[in-house]
């Protein structure tokens, strides 16, 4: 078991958003649109969108947003991206990033996040590692399959993973 690395969190701003692009490019097979980056920078919410720093470098990032849910007036925290540079994986960094978002929920569930009762994300059906990560570490459930969610990768389908918070 490799030693866990202790990271520090940092805000994503218009001055360093290029580093988010680099992380995403290195981690994901899809390219994210300008609207995604714009949303992250303009949201200015470092509790939901943050860098993970180690030894002075950005080595990973997690970006989430609050969304309304269909057929309900409740909200959910939706994880858009979670990525850690290959050389730094297996060190608990991804776990620390997700945990910090869950902690943010815990500390604000009666205040700013009173309307939130779920956290969710989409995972490509072939991404076993990711599914294991969320289900075994954090108790997420596997939901419905969404067909043709992705436009340019194969397989194009994904699962919704979610966890009820209340």
């Amino acid at each position: 078991m490799r030693r866990e690395l202790e990271i520090e969190f940092g805000q994503i701003t218009s001055d360093n958003v290029e580093q988010l692009r680099k992380v995403n490019l290195a981690c994901f097979p899809v390219q994210y649109q300008e609207t995604y980056y714009k949303g992250v920078v303009e949201g200015k919410n470092e509790s939901l969108c943050k860098f993970a720093y180690f030894n002075g470098f950005v080595v990973g990032a997690a970006c989430a947003r609050l969304e309304g849910m269909k057929n309900s007036n409740k909200q959910r925290i939706y994880i858009m991206t979670l990525g850690v540079l290959a050389a730094y994986r297996g060190r608990g960094i991804g776990r620390q990033l997700i945990q910090s978002i869950l902690d943010y929920y815990e500390n604000n569930k009666d205040g700013a996040l009173a309307n939130v009762d779920e956290i969710a994300l989409h995972v490509q059906i072939s991404n076993e590692d990711a599914m294991k990560f969320y289900t075994t570490r954090f108790g997420f459930e596997k939901g419905e399959m969404v067909e043709n969610y992705y436009k340019r990768i194969d397989p194009p389908h994904c699962y919704l993973l979610f966890k009820k918070l209340r």
Binding site: R3, L25, N55, F57, A87, Y88
Partner: protein
């Protein structure tokens, strides 16, 4: 006969009371920068006395501050013409020249004014400032003497006169001025007891004493007497140690150096030079030279020492300094210049690994200070790649670093016997260091290859892009260098250093428009960025831009840029 509408033609008929008061107001408004009011009042006087020289001159002076240069010059000249015997007019004429940076003309005007009104302190003060500006030291001394005679209750006038004496080389004279000043103070005055001003004055007097040839003993004795009032203990100890070395009192000098370390001056490498000089009882000329060394260089890296000398100095470090100041960066770094062969290898191994684990970007630069070549009894840094590659220390360092790289690959540790595995950042720093060593050896391709590995490993590391850009530039491809460095800059748009590097490379590549765009990201928003750079005296940009034009053979633009630069630096640009 002077016409009626020109009062004050020369000394004699002053303005009537109402207008005289208005004139006083004009001067007051000028001094408080209320220019519009000053003009208004001046115009009121001129309505009645349109040829009043002094008012015309004052109005001109105010207009000059409002950027109306031509009108200002015309008015001041007219005012002076109308009243050549007015010291005010000459004074204003001088001020006008000063604002145009015609300092010699200004001095002439002030002297004219003083011929009319010899004891005018304001004019004397303005004159003294210009004289020192133009380094007219004898003139400066005379003027300051006059001011002191007129106003001997101002401390500043005493100090300025002492300084003047010092500058013209009359050292004993300077000291006696200071002493006479101190003599004017009453017993128990605050200026005589311990305090910052009193202490600094004492140290200054001491400095002058030490500048008198062969006067070190008197300087040292004086230092002891002023000890109770000096606040800047570090400077006091420094002077003491240097005097002791000069007088050959080596044991005492070492004690003083120990005292300095105890005060916390352990990171000051010049103090380490003093320490080593006192242990080795070196000649005072060597000690003085060592005092001027920059960075982590000491006397040990300046002159070749014998093995016996190195051992003696090393004993001092190992017996005294390590035990007391084990965490000091300098105490760990300097002995590396005192060991050789196997001992050096062992010591530098520890040094490098510490820097790699911590992640010190300047590690390569620090190590390059070991690659010294002997020339005429002094050491110089080796800069030519051929010299570097042949250097024993370089070979040792490269061997060690290559060892780390292969050990990391096999075991994720720097040394096989390490207990703990290294985090992923360590391999990044090791590659980065190895690339830096490639740069010193002129092996640009190998360096770039390693840096590409770094970028793949951690694409968010700005330092890597900077080094890669530098290697590309050294290898001759400035355009590729620009591309890389700009990518690095884009990662952290708040990093001014990398922005400057990008601008610099763009200017070298002939991309002056893009360069201006980049550097404008950090200039103040009001006004155009080039004006801001000029005001901030950003010489590297201006000279880089001029050189860029010259390379493109745009001679006119290049000359203009160089000319403007010289003009601001006060150099008279002759055709």
């Amino acid at each position: 006969m002077a016409p009626d509408n020109n009062p004050q033609n020369g000394a004699g008929r002053p303005l009537p009371k109402k207008e005289a008061d208005l004139f006083k107001n004009v001067v007051k408004h000028y001094e408080t920068k209320q220019y519009k009011k000053a003009i208004k009042q001046a115009d009121t006087i001129l309505k009645k006395y349109p040829n009043h020289g002094e008012t015309l001159a004052m109005k001109g002076l105010v207009l000059n501050n409002l950027e109306k240069r031509e009108e200002a010059h015309a008015l001041v000249k007219q005012g002076l013409m109308n009243d050549m015997r007015s010291h005010v007019c000459w004074h204003v004429y001088g001020l006008l020249h000063r604002s145009d940076r015609n300092y010699n003309e200004a001095i002439k005007a002030y002297k004219q004014a003083l011929r009319i009104d010899t004891d005018n302190i304001q004019i004397l003060r303005d004159l003294s400032m210009l004289q020192i500006q133009m380094r007219d030291l004898p003139g400066f001394a005379v003027t300051r003497h006059n001011i002191l005679t007129l106003k001997s209750n101002g401390k500043i006038n005493w100090l300025a006169f002492a300084l003047a004496k010092h500058l013209i080389g009359d050292l004993r004279g300077a000291i006696s001025v200071i002493d006479i000043y101190l003599g004017t103070l009453t017993e128990g005055a605050p200026e005589l007891s311990r305090g910052f001003e009193a202490g600094e004055l004492a140290l200054y007097r001491n400095q002058i004493l030490s500048e008198i040839p062969d006067n070190t003993r008197e300087a040292l004795d004086h230092l002891e007497t002023c000890k109770p009032i000096v606040v800047d203990r570090s400077s006091w100890l420094t002077s003491k140690a240097r005097y002791q070395l000069k007088l050959g009192q080596y044991a005492e000098a070492k004690k003083t150096a120990d005292e300095m370390f105890e005060r916390g001056m352990t990171e000051n490498c010049r103090v380490h030079s003093l320490y080593i000089c006192s242990i080795l009882e070196l000649d005072s000329q060597i000690c003085d030279e060592a005092w001027k060394l920059p960075g982590t260089r000491t006397v040990a890296s300046m002159i070749p020492l014998t093995a016996e000398q190195k051992q003696r100095a090393l004993d001092g470090y190992e017996a005294d300094l390590f035990p007391k100041y084990g965490k000091s960066a300098a105490v760990n770094r300097i002995p590396l210049n005192l060991v050789e062969g196997d001992k050096f290898r062992k010591a530098v191994d520890v040094f490098i690994r510490k820097g790699l684990v911590k992640g010190v970007p300047s590690l390569c630069r620090e190590l390059s200070s070991f690659f010294l070549l002997e020339k005429d009894g002094r050491y110089e840094l080796a800069t030519d790649p051929v010299d570097v590659k042949e250097h024993e220390a370089f070979k040792v360092v490269v061997d060690l670093v290559d060892g780390y790289i292969s050990c990391l690959k096999a075991n994720s540790k720097l040394l096989v016997d390490d207990e703990v595995e290294e985090p992923p950042s360590t391999v990044l720093w090791v590659w980065y260091l190895r690339a830096g060593l490639h740069e010193l050896a002129g092996e640009y391709d190998a360096g770039i290859e390693l840096l590409d590995k770094c970028i793949e490993h951690t694409p968010t590391a700005v330092d890597v892009y900077e080094l890669k850009g530098r290697l590309l530039r050294s290898a001759g491809d400035i355009n590729a260098a620009v591309e890389v460095v700009d990518k690095g800059r884009d990662l952290d748009r708040q990093d001014r250093y990398i922005n400057n590097q990008t601008t610099k490379y763009m200017l070298e590549a002939g991309m002056e428009a893009e360069a201006l765009e980049r550097i404008s990201m950090f200039t103040k928003h009001e006004g155009n960025p080039e004006a801001n750079l000029y005001d901030m005296q950003c010489s590297w940009y201006e000279l880089g831009l001029a050189s860029c034009y010259a390379k493109k053979e745009l001679w006119g633009r290049a000359l203009r840029k160089y000319g403007k630069f010289l003009q601001r630096e006060g150099v008279v640009f002759v055709g």
